[in-house]
């Protein structure tokens, strides 16, 4: 596709459920990022990949969060045993590569509500 595609767009999960959020980056983009945006806040970095390698996961809030990109294209962010504080928009983004200053393109986000 032309842009970064995320699914599902909206997800309601019961507390304790596991969720999986999918991201399809722009074709040919080597770098892929995940950000978390709480209501009324700016996005915060979670993790990023270069191809299939996860180079930085310092922003993942707990060991319940796990991200993968096994074939260097599509990525999945998994949240285990969801908690109410996990409610947020999860933004995926991609970039041609990790050259500083390159434009990072964002998807529309997956809105997660934990009830």
């Amino acid at each position: 596709g032309a842009g970064v595609s995320q699914s599902p767009r909206y997800k309601v999960a019961k507390r304790g459920q596991d969720v999986a959020l999918r991201c399809d980056p722009i074709s040919g983009h080597v770098s892929l990022f995940w950000y978390q945006q709480a209501l009324g806040q700016g996005p915060e970095f979670l993790t990023y990949f270069q191809n299939e390698a996860q180079l930085d996961k310092s922003g993942l809030p707990s060991d319940r969060f796990f991200a993968e990109r096994p074939e260097g294209s599509v990525s999945t962010l998994k949240i285990q045993r969801t908690q109410q504080e996990d409610s947020a928009v999860y933004l995926c983004a991609s970039s041609l590569d990790l050259t500083p200053g390159n434009t990072i393109y964002f998807g529309e986000g997956s809105w997660l509500t934990v009830v």
């Binding site: 700016g42 996005p43 990023y48 930085d56 990790l98 500083p100 964002f106 529309e108 986000g109």
Partner: protein, 114 residues
């Protein structure tokens, strides 16, 4: 580490009036600076970015921003706003070297009144 502060959480203006959205940054290293716009229920879209060279950067939709190193600021301006500019605006920074990680400000909600 970097931090970005957007001084106004909300800015209301009348249509066709000028607007300035303020952004200050703090960093121990040199940074690139960005402005993104987020329309309701949409993702972030890049408005403009400062990498080097001229401190006045022009972006899409008639927006421009000026990098001021001495004041560590990167304010966004538009001489005449339109109803369609109603959105959330985010200032962000990333280091010149190393990981391409964006650090965002809290956002400024721009509301255009007719």
């Amino acid at each position: 580490a970097q931090s970005v502060t957007q001084l106004d959480s909300q800015v209301p203006v009348f249509e066709e009036a000028p607007v300035e959205l303020r952004c200050n940054y703090s960093s121990s290293v040199s940074v690139y600076l960005f402005w993104y716009v987020q329309y309701p229920n949409q993702g972030l879209q890049l408005l403009l970015k400062y990498l080097s060279g001229s401190t006045l950067v022009k972006g899409i939709n008639g927006f421009e921003a000026e990098f001021n190193k001495s004041q560590t600021s990167f304010h966004l301006r538009k001489p005449s706003v339109h109803i369609s500019d109603t959105a959330e605006y985010f200032c962000a920074a990333s280091p010149l070297k190393g990981a391409q990680k964006l650090v965002f400000g809290q956002g400024t909600r721009l509301t255009i009144n007719p």
